[in-house]
């Protein structure tokens, strides 16, 4: 059967326990009186279809078990994932400090070209904040990773974060394809599909979210 989509990206949510990974994947429900059957069992992953510059992109987004410590996480954990959302909780200093450990763990265990993004979640809890937005931004600059503050509770920036990560993975893949097929001009008919020349992504534009 013909594929009905252009790209399939597997994405992973990781970070310390309690930072809000499950809440980012699961719609935040305040209605404690109506705990549904689904929320009792919990979501393993979601499939979402988005449109990126006219391409149909399927995202398979996985939650991860929070009890797992980064020390115990190995290669199998990251297998096949092309994008990783590193989540910390802006009201929890420790979860922010651990982002560095998570990044090291990814470098040791995940595929070298996995796209990463840092999310400072629970930004609705201003009064309880322990990590300033500036520190989040600084960390992102240090690692050259995009960063955005989110609130799973208010659905703030969650969707746009996934779009951003997906767009970066797509750009990286297209760049790779071009590199492995530099003689694009000779492939005649196929050239049309290579579409408008995208501007080379400079490091500055990569950090436009900052």
């Amino acid at each position: 059967m013909a594929k009905t989509y252009d790209y399939l990206f597997k994405l992973l949510l990781i970070g310390d326990s309690g930072v809000g990974k499950t809440s980012i994947l699961f719609r935040f429900s305040e209605d404690a009186f109506n705990i549904s059957f689904i929320s009792t069992i919990g979501i393993d992953f979601k499939i979402r279809t988005i449109d990126l510059d006219g391409k149909k992109v399927k995202l398979q987004i996985w939650d991860t078990a929070g009890q797992e410590r980064f020390r115990t996480i190995t290669t199998a954990y990251y297998r096949g994932s092309m994008g990783i959302m590193l989540v910390y909780d802006v009201t929890n200093e420790k979860s922010f400090e651990n982002i560095k450990n998570w990044i090291r763990n990814i470098e040791e265990n995940a595929s070298a070209d996995v796209e990463k993004m840092i999310l400072g979640n629970k930004c609705d809890l201003e009064a309880k904040r322990q990590v300033s937005k500036e520190r989040g931004e600084q960390l992102a600059v240090e690692y050259q990773i995009k960063f955005i503050e989110t609130s799973a509770k208010d659905s703030l920036n969650v969707e746009s974060a996934f779009y951003t990560l997906a767009r970066d993975i797509k750009a990286k893949m297209e760049k790779k394809q071009e590199a492995s097929n530099p003689a694009g001009a000779r492939t005649g008919g196929h050239q049309l599909r290579n579409e408008p020349q995208r501007k080379p992504t400079s490091w500055l534009s990569r950090c436009s979210l900052l």
Partner: protein
């Protein structure tokens, strides 16, 4: 007798206004939020009997008890990436339940871990 043997697909399937060529004629959407679950003509119509937990469990039910109802009509999805938007729960008794990716309503069907096929309960979705 030979007349009977020549009968092909069950006549009743032909009569379903939402089935065409054995597939879903319309887009499949979430009943509650309208989230798009399946594109039209992407899944096969089948009948089979399966007990599914109720979308809304009675809060006064006995602890640990799950209220089910039998469901008979499904859309059969062989490849999970056929779905437009869908959630998969953690595994329970070798199956995962399907839920709306946008409002988390469910189960709207189930996924069989052995065959890796998914089944969307037609009584729990709307066509558009």
């Amino acid at each position: 007798m030979s007349e009977v043997e020549h009968k092909e697909t069950p006549v009743e399937n032909e009569e379903k206004e939402y089935v065409e060529d054995g597939k879903n004629k319309f887009i499949v959407k979430c009943k509650f939020c309208g989230s798009r679950i399946l594109d039209k003509k992407s899944a096969k119509y089948i009948t089979l009997e399966k007990d599914l937990p109720l979308m809304q469990q009675d809060n006064n039910r006995k602890e640990g008890e799950i209220q089910n109802e039998p469901v008979n009509e499904f859309y059969h999805v062989e490849n999970m990436y056929t779905f437009e938007n869908i959630g998969f729960t953690h595994t329970v008794a070798n199956c995962k339940y399907l839920s709306c990716a946008d409002c988390d309503a469910g189960p709207v069907g189930y996924y069989d871990n052995d065959t890796k096929h998914s089944y969307v309960a037609i009584s729990r979705i709307v066509h558009a």
